[in-house]
């Protein structure tokens, strides 16, 4: 009854990313500070050793052995303790809208802190789960922008699926499920209505 004609490609599982997934493409454009380990002759932009340059993370993938990357500060020790203390107060959208996705991709880069990063990602998700569930399942017919603005993209996706369950149930209970309503696509065409046509 509710099939879509367009099925978006889901982001990849864990450390993999799906090449065609829009979410993964966007997150791989987050910039990372790096350090080059050796000289690149004739490449004007990148110079040896101590320069910290930003390049998009997707580009980095292929140059693994010549560069070393520094973790963005959100995944470092300081922020990790904040997340472990109380994940609910953090504005994850400001910390990079793809906190979870980018965090999973960072695990490619063989940093000694990898297990802690992975653990922090998981614990943050679990800590925020309760708040996200309650807000998505209880906010009916109100302006949810205040609730949604502090959520990461993954959590926004969960929020919309919770809202769709809630809206479906509420519209059924009001009896709107058995009434014919014009589709929102058709309303956007702004065609003339029968009532407006002069007889």
């Amino acid at each position: 009854m509710d099939t879509q004609s367009y099925l978006p490609v889901q982001p990849g599982v864990g450390m993999q990313e799906n090449f065609l997934s829009l979410d993964d493409i966007l997150l791989s454009h987050e910039r990372l500070p790096i350090r080059t380990e050796c000289a690149f002759p004739r490449l004007g932009y990148l110079e040896k050793a101590t320069d910290a340059q930003d390049i998009p993370q997707g580009l980095y993938e292929r140059k693994r052995r010549v560069l070393s990357v520094e973790l963005p500060k959100v995944y470092r020790e300081g922020w990790r303790t904040v997340f472990n203390a109380d994940p609910n107060v953090v504005d994850l959208h400001k910390m990079g809208p793809y906190y979870y996705g980018l965090g999973s991709q960072m695990l490619h880069f063989d940093s000694p802190e990898n297990p802690e990063i992975a653990q922090t990602l998981l614990q943050t998700f679990i800590g925020r789960f309760r708040r996200n569930m309650d807000s998505s399942q209880n906010a009916y017919n109100e302006d949810t922008s205040a609730l949604v603005e502090r959520l990461d993209c993954l959590e926004k996706f969960l929020f919309t699926s919770g809202q769709s369950g809630l809206n479906g149930f509420q519209s059924w209970e009001k009896g709107r499920a058995s009434q014919l309503t014009a589709s929102s696509l058709v309303l956007n065409y702004r065609k003339r209505k029968m009532a407006d046509v002069p007889p």
Binding site: M1, D2, P11, G12, V13, G14, M15, Q16, E17, N18, F19, L20, E61, Y100, S104, Q105, L107, H108, P115, A118, Q119, L121, L122, F125, I126, F129, R130, M133, D134, S136, Q137, L154, F157, L158, S161, G162, S164, G165, L166, G168, F169, S171, W172, E173, G175, A177, S178
Partner: protein, 186 residues
């Protein structure tokens, strides 16, 4: 699954009616529907009962559980227990909505019944959320919940499955042997 589909499944439940017409036994694919005699109660599926009621050919008898005292007891029991108590009927929400919309003149104290059923629903949904939260926060792999009705499962299904998917992705990060990232072929 749509709530309308759950309602469709609920309409298969039987309810007692008192017809005001007479008809011999009818043989349908789903089963036989007994002879109809005016004034004598007969069990029919809800879809037929609503249809006859709309054509003013019968009077619907509320089911045994649709009674103010019984529902109040169930509500108190539900509030006390931590686990789910057996629901009044596996389709109590749908039957309440349908019967109270179309046959409220045959059901005494319809408004109170509506409020009581809504309270019962709210308590059960709150318990469901609590147990989902516990399930996720303790990273359990397996959970069993008894006495849930299809409508309750339906409202939480999309959200819970999506969050479990996300959790699976994050948990696979912790596995030491996870692959270093290959581009899958499409």
């Amino acid at each position: 699954m749509d709530p309308s589909e759950v309602e469709f499944l609920a309409e298969k439940e039987t309810v007692k009616i008192i017809p005001n017409f007479s008809l011999d036994k009818i043989y349908l694919i789903g089963g036989d529907l007994g002879p109809f005699n005016p004034g004598l109660p007969v069990d029919v599926p809800v879809w037929l009962a609503l249809n006859l009621k709309q054509r003013q050919k019968c009077r619907i008898v509320p089911p045994a559980w649709m009674d103010v005292e019984k529902l109040e007891e169930m509500r108190e029991l539900e509030r006390k227990e931590n686990a789910f108590t057996p629901a009044p009927s596996p389709y109590y929400m749908e039957l309440t909505k349908l019967l109270l919309n179309y046959a409220s003149d045959n059901i005494p104290k319809a408004d109170e019944i509506r409020t009581l059923v809504k309270d019962l629903w709210d308590t059960r949904i709150a318990k469901l959320r609590l147990s989902a939260d516990k399930f996720i926060s303790q990273l359990e792999a397996h959970a069993k919940l008894d006495n849930l009705t299809l409508m309750e499962i339906n409202t939480i299904r999309a959200f819970l499955l999506d969050s479990l998917n996300c959790m699976y992705k994050l948990r696979s990060n912790l596995l030491p042997g996870s692959s270093k990232g290959q581009f899958t072929d499409y």
